[in-house]
Amino acid sequence: MPLLKIENLSKSFGGLKALSNLDIEINQGELIGLIGPNGAGKTTVFNILTGVYEKTEGKMTFMDKDLSGLKPYQVTLRGMARTFQNIRLFNDLSVIDNVKVAYHQRTSYSSISALFRLPSYYSGEEEMQRKAMELLKIFNLADKAEETAKNLPYGEQRRLEIARALATDPQLLLLDEPAAGMNPQETHDLMNLIRWIREKFKLTILLIEHDMSLVMGVCERIYVLDYGVIIAQGTPDDIKRNPKVIEAYLGEEVV
């Protein structure tokens, strides 16, 4: 039974058909790439999966349950977390508070114990502080825990976004262009990080990326999207040789 099964998914914005009849299957523990030229609809897939957009047609099953009609926070609670193409951190909050917001949904203490500072407030906050610090240590951000998020260098902001997504305790992690704007060295480090967190947290990962060295380097299977249609899928080697993919990326003449 696949972890995530997308069947026949379509999305229209008015007359524009952004996605048509998508079928994607992701098994537990896989690392899948979703690539395609600009405007192919990759981020739209993420937005529909996480409940930001409403799908027009189709069926999405995640961990044997239907995903349709759920709000983004409900999708997160089911075990799916994401990062954004354009970084969306909580800029004026400290690094550690960014992570703590993600722990919020799994916190046990109520707003009443927060108001009156009951013992459960202190134990709850202590636990969050401990977990958040542990996570920041993994991501090499522990010494910057009290720094304001917007003051971090770009690469660290990207890392913090992944850390924050992991704090929601996901089964499936959706990464939207994690290497965007990174130099080759940073991309290489990111590649290792992705491999490592996948082992460590037993994650399934779906990532959108334009950096082919990263995609071909870490992904086990790749889906190629062009004009809202899946034009190819397979292992990185299959994809490299697929004439349809080459055409979509480089133009007809090359083929």
Partner: protein, 317 residues
């Protein structure tokens, strides 16, 4: 409970008690001029109003300008209890605050789908509706208003103000407060991180309305008379100015803003024809040279008094 009385909180508590005792002493000795007394009580009322509006506008980032409306609900409901039903003051204040919170809930549920300017206009409209409703209710006096006995003293206003600020600060310093701040920072990211944004927006709004209602109740039972005209949108803007003046998003800022603004208004009562002009010039200069407000987003901190590493438990209570 051991967490409540750490060094920092104890010192804060001591300061609060001392401030209360000094003013109370002056009252008992009968050397407190009545005008100063009025100003002090007004400062207490405005601190409750500005910290609660700050919860909505500064913390949750929802631009509301209907605070006078909630204040009016609190004032009239508490007046109905204390005057028309001859109930005790504490019951009146509680009922006023609860009534305002209910109004906040009812208004918040539909309007918090709106963003930015649209929400501002909707809440502005709400404030005016409340005023007109009370204007047309004959059993609370209509335009002439309702007269009340003066029951609020320093010993009521000050502790209630301190309690309100502590509760709001506790809320903001908790995971629930962080959820509200995350909505202000980036609503889409907040929702993707598992924050139920609708719930927290409504929660912040309702809580803000609750304390505005409490302030309204205190105001009504201090001022001898309440009239619908008192709660016009100008009052909402006064409160908003205090919050922005102090620093949007900072609780200490809201307190400082309320004190400074009330003080300036009191100082200028001698020259009423210039009062608004001078206030306006002050605000313009302020916004030109310090647009983030007096405190910015910073808070007063006594953390240097606490032990190192005690940072988490170090919030005022």
């Amino acid at each position: 409970m051991r967490n409540w009385f750490n060094r920092k909180n104890s010192i804060t508590l001591l300061g609060i008690v001392l401030l209360y005792a000094v003013v109370q002493g002056l009252i008992v000795l009968d050397i407190m001029p009545p005008f100063y007394m009025l100003t002090l009580i007004l400062i207490c009322i405005y601190i409750i109003l500005s910290t609660s509006l700050n919860l909505i506008n500064g913390i949750a980032g929802q631009f509301s300008v209907g605070h006078a409306g909630f204040m009016a609900v609190g004032a009239y409901v508490s007046a109905m209890i204390t005057v028309l039903l001859k109930g005790p003051l504490i019951l009146g204040l509680l009922a006023g605050a609860t009534g305002a919170a209910l109004a906040g809930l009812i208004v918040g549920l539909p309007t918090l789908r709106l963003k930015g300017d649209y929400l501002a206009i909707a809440t502005l409209g709400f404030g005016e509706i409340v005023r007109i409703v009370f204007l047309n209710m004959d059993f609370v006096g209509g335009a002439a208003g309702l007269t009340l006995p003066k029951q609020i003293t320093w010993s009521w206003a000050f502790p209630l103000m301190v309690l309100s600020v502590i509760l709001i600060k506790n809320f903001v310093g908790s995971t629930h407060g962080r959820a509200c701040i995350s909505i202000r920072e980036n609503e889409i990211a907040a929702e993707s991180m598992g924050v139920n944004t609708t719930k927290y927006k409504v929660m912040a709004f309702t809580m803000g309305a609750f304390f505005a209602g409490l302030a309204g109740g205190i105001y009504a039972n201090y001022m001898y008379i309440i009239q619908p005209g008192t709660f016009s949108f100008l009052k909402s803007f006064d409160i908003l100015v205090m919050v922005v003046l102090g620093g949007l998003g900072s609780i200490s800022g809201a307190i400082v803003g309320a004190i400074v603004y009330t003080f300036i208004s009191a100082l200028l009562t001698g020259i009423p024809e210039w009062r608004l002009v001078i206030t306006a010039v002050f605000l313009i200069v302020m916004m030109m040279f310090r647009p983030t407000g007096i405190m910015g987003t910073k808070e007063f901190s006594l953390s240097f008094l606490g032990k190192k590493g005690d940072k988490n438990a170090a919030s005022k209570n």
